[in-house]
């Protein structure tokens, strides 16, 4: 099975950048690709409890959808969500502040994931 790792650095201050890596990951999972998204830099702010429900992914006509919809589609297709501790510290977050579906990894585990993947795609 092919593997892709998406690296998501966008946070709550850039809602227009929030959903794209997530729905591309969903599509990859639908293509029988093993997919993980590594949320780093500002990425973890998107996963803070309550944020996915309230953050609206904008659309030109004002009919945007909450980020939760994109996250649920991804999880439903088997996409794995990862964060690392330093990027949580950057925002004063702990693992308990995040939605339950997130897994903690460290830098070594991320690099190993990147070496094992067929492609790493950064946002």
């Amino acid at each position: 099975m092919s593997k892709i790792v998406y690296v998501h650095t966008g946070g709550v201050n850039n809602p227009e950048r929030s959903a794209t890596p997530i729905y591309l990951a969903t599509t990859a999972a639908a293509m029988d690709v093993e997919v993980g998204i590594y949320f780093t830099v500002n990425g973890p702010t998107l996963l803070k409890k309550g944020v996915p429900e309230s953050l609206i992914v904008p659309k030109f006509d004002g009919q945007g959808a909450p980020l939760r919809r994109f996250i649920d589609q991804a999880l439903d297709m088997g996409v794995k969500f990862y964060v690392c501790q330093p990027s949580l510290d950057l925002h004063g977050l702990t693992k308990d502040d995040l939605i339950d579906e997130v897994e903690m990894i460290g830098g070594a585990a991320f690099n190993d994931m990147a070496l094992e993947a067929d492609q790493v795609i950064c946002f």
Partner: protein, 79 residues
């Protein structure tokens, strides 16, 4: 590509946009038996390259396709 084969499952994704047609296709295929055929209808302008890419990567061949009045129809056989 041959004539349209007998259809076992139909999937209407008209009006849905990327990535939902492909996600719904992947889910529908999971419930099917090998060699069964799904007829997928789509209006997403990216559907033709997307279905081709999905088919190439999953190994489920598109056995027939047509476009009538902006509605694309794909007959896909489960490998």
């Amino acid at each position: 590509m041959t004539d349209a084969p007998t259809v076992d499952v139909t999937l209407d994704t008209k009006g849905l946009l990327c990535p939902m047609p492909i996600v719904k296709l992947a889910k529908a295929m999971k419930g099917m038996e090998a060699s069964q055929v799904i007829l997928m209808e789509a209006t997403d302008p990216g559907a033709i390259p997307d279905v081709a890419a999905w088919s190439k990567n999953t190994g489920n061949p598109v056995v027939h396709q047509e476009t009538v009045d902006k509605v694309m129809r794909f007959w896909i056989q489960k490998a």
